[in-house]
């Protein structure tokens, strides 16, 4: 009991900031409505880009449209939720330019934990809803044989996918300390990563499989769990059983992310920033 209370107390600083951010976003109702609709449309247009391809062909990379819906849905749901809770790490270059990162040093919590909980973008819930709907449609129309296995894979894939994308945001933030004006470079694996995650990895060339299959483990966020759930064989280098390894990808993503963040912070404290 006392231990739980202590832990809750330790989270109080983070809760206070997040609750306040969430309140202030909903305070301006008209703005928030516009944000929600915009975010919803972003999700819809991204889905439409995939759908357009399937008006020309029946299968891509060995997957029909309803199967791709599962990949797209898993990827976009996980990414939108990661974006909701970690996306503001993208603002780090502004903090670095203005010197406002220093303010975080004056507070008795770890800098990264403060940055992560410094904001929350509730509008991304609308885009997550598009992902959830696509995932639901994919699951119900592609003839998944339900089993405990499939259910575990789905949950495992979603949670790991969320964590993997979140780790990518941390990795990008760590690199910002070095990239400075070249901040856009991290878009390649953060937003490029999201785009890759919605694709059937079977269409990738070998270098792409290496980069987005393993180094930035995007195939593990949606494609591999989906292939395992659907009972499809994976392509060369990416067999279906790897779908079970999604948590390992999440761990790898966070390991590289935290390592980079540590390097970045050291660089900053060393005065190179």
């Amino acid at each position: 009991m006392a231990e739980t209370a202590g832990r809750l107390e330790r989270l109080r600083p983070y809760r206070a900031v997040l609750a306040s951010r969430a309140r202030s976003q909903r305070a301006y109702r008209a703005n928030f409505a516009v944000d929600l609709v915009s975010s919803l449309l972003v999700g819809v247009v991204e889905l439409a880009e995939v759908w357009v391809l399937f008006t020309n062909v029946t299968a891509l990379g060995g997957m029909r449209f309803n199967q791709i819906l599962l990949v797209f849905g898993l990827a976009d749901l996980a990414f939108s939720l990661a974006d909701l809770s970690f996306g503001h790490l993208d603002n780090l270059p502004d903090f670095l330019r203005a010197g406002t990162l220093d303010v975080f040093y004056l507070r008795p919590q770890p800098v990264l934990a403060q940055l992560i909980t410094s904001d929350i973008s509730l509008r991304r819930l609308a885009r997550a809803a598009v992902g959830a709907a696509a995932m639901g449609a994919g699951l119900t129309t592609s003839g998944v044989t339900w089993s405990p296995h499939a259910a575990v894979l789905l949950v495992l894939g979603l949670v790991s996918g969320y964590a993997t994308f979140a780790g990518m945001f941390v990795l990008a933030a760590g690199l910002q300390f070095f990239l400075l004006d070249g901040a856009e470079m991290t878009n390649a694996f953060v937003y490029g990563g999201r785009y890759a995650a919605t694709q059937p990895a079977s269409v990738w060339t070998r270098p792409l499989k290496l980069v987005f299959g393993f180094f930035f483990p995007m195939a593990f966020t949606a494609y591999l769990p989906a292939v395992a759930i659907l009972g499809l064989p994976g392509p060369q280098w990416l067999p279906a059983w790897l779908g079970w390894c999604a948590p390992a990808a999440a761990l790898w993503s966070w390991a590289t992310g935290l390592l980079c963040w540590r390097w970045g912070l050291r660089h900053y404290q060393g005065g190179g920033g």
């Binding site: 449309l41 439409a48 891509l60 004006d181 070249g182 856009e184 991290t186 694996f189 269409v203 792409l208």
Partner: protein, 268 residues
């Protein structure tokens, strides 16, 4: 003499240093651009192959041309809807712009077009060259397409600036243009053919796109430059672009006048 030479050397070095900041930004943009390009190549090549090697006139080589030209154009046409002018309209600083003895629309378009042209050097050309080098692409042999293509490219850049200008001046009437800006971003990317060439769209959606200026920003210059559909088709596209430019420019001019009147009546 030596002192003068040193001054110029210093200026040169300072300019070089200033440029190096942009070089880093350009490099960052280029890496992101190439990554997206490679992913587009993967999915679009798979689509062409799934269709039997040819799809609405595209084979893999011409699809590659589409991908890298579109990635190259990305830094030079405005597909995000954000402009400095929108901010100036919002905070009222545009009243100062109206005091200058130049036409607000013409001045804005000229500045935007200048920046867009410059972006071709660090962003546009390297994207196309590297894409061609890594993936390969087909380019037309007939010089007419390069001539028409250059005109079409310039028109695309100006139409983009003139269309996004409409979003900015809508701020004279709307308190918040952010919703409109995001709408522009989504429509210009999707209907402009950023992710999938418009030829692959179903007929009704192609018709929707054709009713907007967005295809003339990106898709048309790409079609003209890649020589798909022949010379007459290319010339027709350029003429259509001219018509769109006249249309959006006239709309911009009308909105600017009305907005200025509104500003003068309300006193800012």
């Amino acid at each position: 003499m030596r002192a003068t030479a040193r001054v110029y050397w210093r200026l040169l070095a300072a300019g070089f240093r200033r440029q190096s900041a942009y070089r880093l930004a350009a490099l960052g943009g280029l890496v992101a651009n190439l990554t997206f390009g490679l992913l587009k190549v993967a999915i679009l090549f798979a689509t062409v192959r799934a269709a039997g090697g040819e799809l609405h006139g595209y084979d893999t080589a011409s699809m590659s041309t589409y991908v890298w030209l579109s990635q190259g154009l990305l830094g030079s046409v405005n597909l995000n809807g954000r402009t400095d002018l929108a901010l100036r309209v919002k905070d009222g600083q545009v009243a100062v712009d109206f005091l200058r003895p130049v036409d607000l629309q013409a001045a804005t378009l000229a500045t935007e077009a200048g920046m867009s042209l410059f972006a071709l050097i660090p962003r546009g050309l390297p994207s196309v060259l590297l894409g061609a080098l890594v993936v390969g692409m087909r380019l037309p042999s007939n010089p007419v397409f390069y001539l028409l293509g250059t005109v079409s490219l310039l028109l695309g850049i100006v139409i983009s600036a003139a269309t996004v200008y409409l979003v900015a001046v809508a701020g004279f009437w709307l308190v918040e243009t952010r919703g409109l800006q995001i709408l522009y971003m989504l429509a210009s990317g999707f209907l402009g053919g950023l992710y999938v060439p418009l030829a692959l769209f179903p007929g009704w959606l192609r018709a929707v796109a054709a009713a907007t200026p967005f295809p003339s920003i990106m898709m048309d210059p790409i079609d003209v430059l890649s020589g798909l559909g022949g010379e007459a088709h290319a010339a027709g596209l350029v003429l259509a672009q001219l018509a769109w430019l006249a249309g959006v420019a006239a709309a911009g001019q009308a909105l600017t006048r009305a907005g200025r009147r509104r500003l003068e009546v309300q006193g800012g």
